[in-house]
Amino acid sequence: MSPVTLAIVATVAPAVAALLLLVLSPLRHRGAPAAWVTLLGSLVSLGAAVMLLVARLGGAPDARATIPWIEERGRAMAEIGILIDGVSLPMLIIVCLVALCVQVFSIAYMHDEPPRAFGRYFTLHALFLFSMNVVVVSPNLLQLFAGWELVGLTSYLLIGFYFAKPAAAQAAVKAFWMTKLADMGFLFGLLVLYVSTGGFEWTSAPSATVATWVTGLLFLAVVGKSAQFPLHIWLPDAMEGPTPVSALLHAATMVAAGVFLVVRADPLFALAPGTREVMLWVGSITAVFAALLALVQHDIKKVLAFSTCSQLGYMVAALGAGQAFAGFFHLGTHAFFKALLFLAAGSVIHAVHSNSLDDMGGLRKKLPLTTAAFVIGSLSLAGVPGFAGFFSKDLVLTSLEGKASWIPWAMLLGAAFLTAFYMGRLLIKAFWGELSERSSHAHEGNVAMTGPLVVLAIPSLASGFLGGWLATQSSAQYELHLGLTPVLASVMSLAGLGAAILVFRKGGQAPFTHVLEKLDTFSVVDRTWAGAYRIGLLGVASLAGWIDRYLIDGLINFTGWSALEGGSSARRLQTGLVRDYALLVTVGVLVLVLIGVLR
């Protein structure tokens, strides 16, 4: 098959699965068959992606094909299609592989759901993979936007999967609104690009001003989707969704779409140093801020959620430094080790029936495999030398060297210490120490649960060594050199782990825990947005509603009222008495005569 056909198959296979499940409701309602249909779709996608990779390793060139989507006078105003190159192909494989692992894991994890809910869950997964693939293979920004919004939809529906729970329902709409608010930037960016270039290509812009506008607006959407400060608040709440969903959407792939967008639109961002400067700072602030909050979470998923925010901050900072490849590389390794961590967390939650770290403890004895997976993921995330996360994080940090300001570099180094520290805390609290009451009944899940952990552990360990190959694919420069930054980063991660052992082994608390908990529970950012929503939106809306009902429609009523009242008044002239009419006629004639005489 030609690369174009393969790419189309990879994109559309999950859509076919989703459509089948949507239309054939008995299939969906039976539960288990839905899982098989979805898995088959994902497997076909992954297979096609791997075949594309094999062809590429054999020297196949980039593939691009488009068809007109919205036409105007026979000319395409907007196109859709596929683009397979050194950026989209690795991304496609990462997405399909992680999705498949998560879906297999879900079969075991969601086993106790009623069949209808089970079927709905897998239908949404198929829809998600399709939407994500639309983003990944898109040849232009408009299609990317369409896929971007569709993954937002599946995210909304999957966060709200347990819709009977008010917290889940609230988290779902919050996630949708926050990202939609940011997505207005994407839409405006598209409009500016369309007006100035007549199309939606990311290849170039006519001027630096246009590029700054477009990239600035696009970056707003990135802040929303990739949960950057101050729009990050939806991501911790999104943990209300099922844990495998958190692994796939809210850690490995969907939230990374923002980073992917910037990597794709790199030619535009290259023309906009101002935007990059902002990105550098936003990323650095998010990396530190979220890492600090991760330190005081008691919900195992929330630790990981804040950690995701923080790591996305690393990627955004690298993009801001103009090193798109560094961001992309970290996206790739992060996808593996964070999906691994979330699935391992799912395995823990499945075993102890609680999200709270306080209910866990000593799990290492009961869940040896999960523990091993979690340790590998944690060390990779912490950036311990040799693990995948080390290589990519090192590249991010190196890319910040020699910039105008050394502060972002220092912030990210500090965040590296914090990362190791909070992961050490999590490991010790959940897996070491005394066996807790709940932990004592824990046992490993079946092979559907452990299998994906093993599969994901491999790239979490080893994908760092693929950096060189990945770099040549997107024609970037990459070499591992022994300088100050890698050494410092290694020291930071080991120091963080060491500090965690010292502090938490005896059940101690991190310094400043009190302050950080205040910051977490008071959540200034959350409250600001809630206030803006209540006053800025609902308040203005109530005002508009009142004006419409009582002023504008009031005026209409007043018009009707005037006609009725006026008629009633005029009716009094109609007395029916001849003498009144005679009087009026006489007066009238006299007045007329008078006017005639006076003229």
């Binding site: 907007a78 002023l551 009242e565």
Partner: protein, 516 residues
């Protein structure tokens, strides 16, 4: 089939005549005959679409019968690309609307009769090429609404307040009689304006004719145009919900029974927008170009203000009604851009909004029929008992907020692109903001009604979609997705007409020359 258009238009009216002969007691026969009339008209519309040559464009399937030659009045029927798209919309909405009214109990014979007559009027407007006939059909479409709402509608109470609170003594604000009266009076004032504009065109055409093709070819004096355009804009605009003459719409749509809301918001409001486009923009283009900035500015008020009003409503039907005000603002915005993207988007939005709001009202009617309340705060957790309704309601919400993959996105995107490319790019900003506010209010309503813990005992046994009720969600829901992924299906027709009429606008050549 030289009389295909006439047949399509007349089929519902003929079915209405047959209804007269059926005794009111044979309820199934009444419904079947109504359905047959509706289906024939839909089939006719589809046939028209297949016969229409998109590459050729222009007016096709011409069918002329002289009526009053001395006054230049002919029954001249023909269809352009816009007409084809709107015929299809009308056909789909009337068929699903009849099926959604299967359970109407009160005076059902008269109900279906009026509904069918009304629809014939709607078809007539979209295919009339004679201004007099156009107006006649327009009135046939608008007037039955008074009875349909006044007799079959529902009432509620609106507390009096504000500086005009004293007028409440005269009216029962919120009652169905009030809603029907307000709607009819406001639309009739609009009709009066249209009538004046019509005669101005007739007397200034030189040929003393209502033939729209002759009028199109006539270059009217600019002074006449400047009188005609605002009359047409506000006259037809009242029906399209143009601010501040939109207030009949929330009360009217909230009071109207299900099928009537579907038809009224789904199709009738489009007559207004179609009138502004077909009569205002095409017949008096010079004045239109002058007035366009004002039309656009008012349209963005519609979009944003309508969305904000919708966000403040507590009654489900009012939310959907105000969302129509907001979405019709998108249509008017597209019309005001006076370029191809904007006009294509405007007509596409007419269809997209028609389907979406038809779906909305069908589902709201379903919920109301079972739960006997429209107050959102009283509902909750309905997804547990009516998952199908919940699913389709979500789909309608998504199209409403312009999610890619639904028809709403294609339409809104084209309108915003047209606006951005046009003379006043800033229009796109409130437009996009309006779409965001829409996301807030539709998803909030969706969450409150359908999500949450299993419903209270009162609502624990609500039934999901049954038998004929499947038609509206299934047909309208799938169309939203099909037109969302495959815009070419409709766009080829719409674009053919837009390009033809745009060729007449001197200003367009200018605008297109400026942008690369």
């Amino acid at each position: 089939m030289s009389h295909l258009l006439a047949l399509t238009m007349a089929a519902p009216a003929l079915a209405a005549v047959v209804l007269l002969a059926i005794p009111g007691t044979s309820r199934t026969a009444l419904r079947v005959v109504s359905l047959i009339g509706a289906v024939i008209s839909l089939a006719g519309s589809i046939w028209v679409a297949t016969l229409y040559d998109r590459a050729l464009g222009g007016l096709q399937l011409l069918d002329t019968v002289p009526l009053v030659p001395s006054l230049g009045i002919h029954l001249k029927l023909a269809v352009d690309g816009w007409g084809v798209a709107l015929l299809l919309l009308t056909g789909v909405i009337i068929v699903t609307g009849v099926l959604a009214s299967w359970s109407v109990a009160k005076r059902d014979k008269e109900f279906f009769l009026l509904l069918l007559v009304l629809v014939s009027g709607v078809y007539g407007v979209f295919i009339s090429q004679d201004l007099f006939i156009f107006f006649l059909f327009y009135e046939i479409a608008v007037l039955p609404m008074y009875l349909l709402i006044g007799i079959w509608g529902s009432s509620h109470k609106v507390p009096s307040a504000g500086p005009f609170g004293f007028t409440w003594k005269r009216f029962e604000v919120g009652s169905r009689e009030y809603a029907a009266m307000k709607l009819t009076l406001m639309l009739l004032v609009g009709s009066a304006a249209i009538l004046v504009a019509m005669f101005l065109l007739w007397s200034n055409s030189g040929a003393r004719t209502f033939d729209m093709q002759v009028l199109e070819a006539t270059k009217f004096p600019i002074a006449v145009q400047h009188v005609v355009f605002p009359l047409v804009w506000l006259g037809f605009g009242t029906l399209a919900g143009v601010f501040p003459f939109h207030t009949w719409s929330p009360d009217g749509h909230a009071s109207a029974p299900t099928a009537v809301s579907m038809l009224h918001a789904g199709v009738l409001m489009k007559l207004g927008a179609f009138g502004v486009l077909r009569i205002g923009m095409v017949l008096v283009p010079d004045a239109a170009a002058w007035w366009a900035p004002i039309v656009g500015a008012v349209a963005v008020v519609n979009v944003l203000y309508g969305a904000l009003c919708a966000a403040s409503q507590k009654d489900l039907k009012y939310i959907v009604a105000y969302s129509s005000v907001s979405h019709m603002g998108v249509v008017m915005l597209g019309i005001a851009t006076m370029n191809a993207a904007g006009w294509n988007g405007a007509v596409y939005q007419m269809v997209a909004h028609g389907i979406m709001t038809g779906l909305f009202f069908a589902l709201v009617g379903l919920v109301y029929e079972r739960a006997h309340t429209r107050t959102i705060a009283k509902m909750g957790g309905f997804a547990h008992v009516m998952p199908v309704v919940a699913g389709f309601f979500t789909l309608a919400c998504l199209s409403s907020l312009g999610l890619p993959g639904t028809a709403g996105f294609v339409a809104e995107f084209m309108v915003f692109a047209g606006a951005a490319k046009g003379a006043s790019p800033w229009w796109a900003i409130p437009g996009v903001l309006g779409a965001f506010v829409t996301a807030v209010y539709v998803l909030r309503a969706c969450k409150t009604i359908f999500w949450g813990p299993a419903p209270v005992d009162e609502f624990a046994h609500l039934q999901d979609v049954q038998r004929t009720e499947w038609a509206a969600p299934l047909v309208l829901g799938s169309l939203l997705v099909v037109f969302g992924f495959w815009p070419k299906l409709l766009l080829d027709f719409i674009d053919a007409a837009s390009q033809g009429y745009l060729g007449r606008l001197p200003i367009v050549a200018l605008a297109q020359a400026v942008t690369p």
